[in-house]
Amino acid sequence: MERTLIALVEDKPGVLNRVASLFRRRAFNIESLTVGHTEQPGISRMTIVVDSNRTDAQKVAQNLYKLVNVIHVEDVTERPAVMRDLALIKVRANGQTRAEVLQIVETFRARVVDVALDTLMIEVTGTEEKVNGLVEVLRPFGIVEMVRTGRVAMLRGTA
């Protein structure tokens, strides 16, 4: 099972390296890791997804706390949280298949963000399951290129 951790860290040079080095050294298996700014200057936020069959999420949290630059770690797996992944998918779409692809995009509430003669670039946001679903139905058309951000998460409500 996957577990999702949110870590607030000081936005200082080398902090991502410290976190990555820790995961490597302790042989933690990380499914995804995203980093970005937060509403507070000087603080970055990481969303870390681990496969709990292979890596104990609590151990990840305890070890993260050993890093001086890590301010707070929370396991949000069992809390009400919104979790999202964003993907950009470039898919083959010629005159014959274009309409079909556009219909799929609409069904998944995705968006077309670039149109070329024989490809479409599609932006989709959602849970990883939803993104995976879109990828699967687009695959027969020919996926030329794809990039995914990895999971980001935020707790619902005011807490």
Binding site: V9, E10, P13, G14, N17, R18, S21, L22, R25, K59, Q62, N63, Y65, K66, L67, V68, N69, V70, I71, H72
Partner: protein
């Protein structure tokens, strides 16, 4: 006050109460060295930077203060690495200051450039690359705070050359260090403490496992009060030696791979283990699946990541062990575990019967004879520093400590070459105390260049070289597990007496027990540094550390020294 970065280094070292730095100069740290004299901080010039880190480590363990090592960039910095890793594994507070190429050249593979903050990332508690002189004072202040607080450890500060020469307004940092993510723990969660007390009050066969944390948090008195009130025997880790007086009736002595058999039996048969400031190292537990299977377990540690790491426990208490013991003391009931202690005494009698010191004299000099003779001559009151290997285990077994001195040894990393430079640090920390460096012939030769430092600083260290002409511990494994195939372990050694004399150090040699006692007495009458070479049994039963839990075996599956049949 306008100050250069170099001056700020010494200003801040003074501010942090540092009176000595161990180091070796070089191009990228030269500016800082040249500013030292204005500040009157002592510098000990070592012959290799590894020794600077080990000496800072020995200084820290002997004094309870932060040790400081200094080196130049590139090879100077990389030579510190083994010493930093040693301090990390044993939670020793040291601060290492390294020179770095100018900021404009960082990343260009400049002369003597190495990414030392990158290299030391996994072996420091924290590290800094200071690129602006305005940040320097506060970085040093933080570094000392991080090194000594919480679970102590090494911190490295990398200082580019231009930061050392740049000027700024120097204002000594005021007040608390502001680190939003760094919160050393204090007392334990009262609910967890209460549950631990319940287990303690219900136990019939409890054993305390006392570790380095007891010494570092100053919990010796609290531990003693707790053990006496609850009538609980105390076993020590290697680094826990000194945490509990070994002549105390409740003392068991060292546990683990080379712990005495009755200690490990007590752990395996216990119904409650109380792990105080220790981390269940594999050398302590043996095979985890078979470790102390009959016991409930309580673990108190200052590092959350150590709780439930190796051994799952019933009650885990995150906290400073002295404060947790003080919380526990009023909650536990006075107890008597007479039957349990008698059972342990029965096992202990068997250990005595097998003790190599209780064998009839056969003319041969054995390492335990030497250690015991040093113990008797010094009345067990010396600060003992060891290297790593057989002599280290024999010293742990035969140099019983009744005082809250640390037993200065590389436990976690097992760093051969640690002993001599660490003894330098210990002797400088405790100039009036008798310091013995007990070393093996293998480890000694990894850092023996430090005899020059000993001589130059006129340090009255007493070096006991236990010479068996082998890398003895490896040879022991080869004897026991590889059918005596002594692959790459025999040492064709130099004449150690003449070697020491070449460094201006008085030296003696002993090959039998009488000579050993004589030269120990003679050495103790001599004022300067001395080296005593003891030529001891090379192999066989007399050259083997017993008992021994083979790697991967359960704690009770010890190889025991055979009992000598009286004829």
């Amino acid at each position: 006050m306008r100050r250069t970065g170099a001056q700020i280094v010494w200003e801040m070292l003074k501010y942090e109460g540092v009176d000595v730095v161990f180091g070796h100069p070089g191009g990228a740290i030269l500016s800082t060295y040249q500013a030292r004299q204005e500040y009157g901080i002592r510098h000990i010039l070592v012959r290799h930077e590894q020794a600077a880190a080990h000496a800072a480590d020995g200084y820290a363990r002997a004094s309870g203060r932060v040790g400081v090592a200094m080196a130049t960039s590139g090879p100077g910095a990389t030579n510190l690495v083994t010493g930093i890793a040693t301090a990390m594994m044993d939670s020793v507070p040291i601060v290492c200051i390294t020179g770095q190429v100018p900021t404009s050249l960082i990343g260009s593979d400049a002369f003597q450039e190495t990414d030392i903050t990158g290299i030391t990332l996994p072996i420091t508690k924290h590290n800094y690359l200071v690129t602006d002189v305005a940040d320097l004072a506060y970085a040093i202040h933080e570094a000392f705070y991080i090194a000594r607080s919480g679970r102590p450890g090494p911190v490295l500060i990398d200082l580019p050359k231009d930061v050392q020469t740049a000027e700024t307004d120097f204002v000594p940092p005021e007040g608390e260090v502001r680190l939003p993510g760094y919160r050393p723990v204090g007392p334990g969660d009262p609910e967890a403490v209460r549950r631990a007390a319940e287990l303690i009050n219900a136990a019939q066969r409890p054993v305390i496992l006392a570790g380095h944390g007891i010494l570092m948090s100053g919990a010796m008195e609290a531990l003693r009060a707790f053990a006496e009130k609850t009538d609980t025997p105390v076993a020590l880790t290697l680094l826990g030696k000194g945490a509990f007086p070994e002549s105390h009736p409740l003392s068991l002595g060292m546990m683990g791979m080379h712990g005495e058999a009755y200690v490990n039996m007590a752990i395996q048969e216990a119904d409650l283990l109380l792990a105080f400031g220790m981390r269940f190292d594999d050398r302590v537990t043996g095979k985890l699946e078979a470790y102390a299977p009959k016991s409930r377990k309580v673990h108190v540690d200052i590092d959350a990541a150590e709780l439930n790491k190796n051994v799952p426990v019933d009650v885990a208490i995150l906290g400073d062990v002295r404060q947790v013991l003080e919380q526990l003391l009023p909650l536990v009931e006075p107890a008597s575990h007479q039957a349990w202690r008698e059972e342990i005494e029965g096992w202990r009698a068997d250990t005595r019967a097998r003790d190599i010191l209780n064998r009839p004299e056969n003319g041969r000099l054995l390492a335990p004879h030497v250690i015991r003779a040093i113990w008797e001559a010094t009345e067990g009151k010396a600060i003992v520093v060891t290297d790593v290997g057989q002599h280290q285990m024999w010293t742990a077994q035969y140099y019983a400590l009744d005082w809250a001195y640390p037993f200065i040894t590389s436990g976690g990393l097992g760093t051969m070459g640690f002993g001599l430079p660490a003894a330098i640090g210990a002797q400088i920390a405790r100039p009036d105390h008798e310091v013995w460096a007990i070393l093996g012939d293998g480890g000694f030769q990894m850092t023996l260049q430090e005899l020059a430092t000993v001589f130059q600083e006129k340090l009255p260290i007493r070096i006991a070289l236990i010479n068996n002409s082998y890398l003895g511990m490896v040879r022991q494994w080869q004897e026991l597990f590889f059918d005596r195939r002594y692959e790459s372990t025999h040492l064709l050694n130099p004449d150690f007496v003449r070697l020491a004399e070449a460094y201006g150090i008085r030296a003696w040699r002993a090959t039998c027990r009488d000579e050993a006692q004589q030269i120990i007495a003679e050495a103790r009458r001599h004022e300067g540094p001395v080296l005593l070479e003891f030529q001891v049994a090379e192999e066989g039963e007399e050259g083997t550390v017993y008992p021994m839990v083979p790697a991967g075996a359960a704690l009770h599956e010890m190889l025991r020294r055979p009992v000598v049949q009286s004829s």
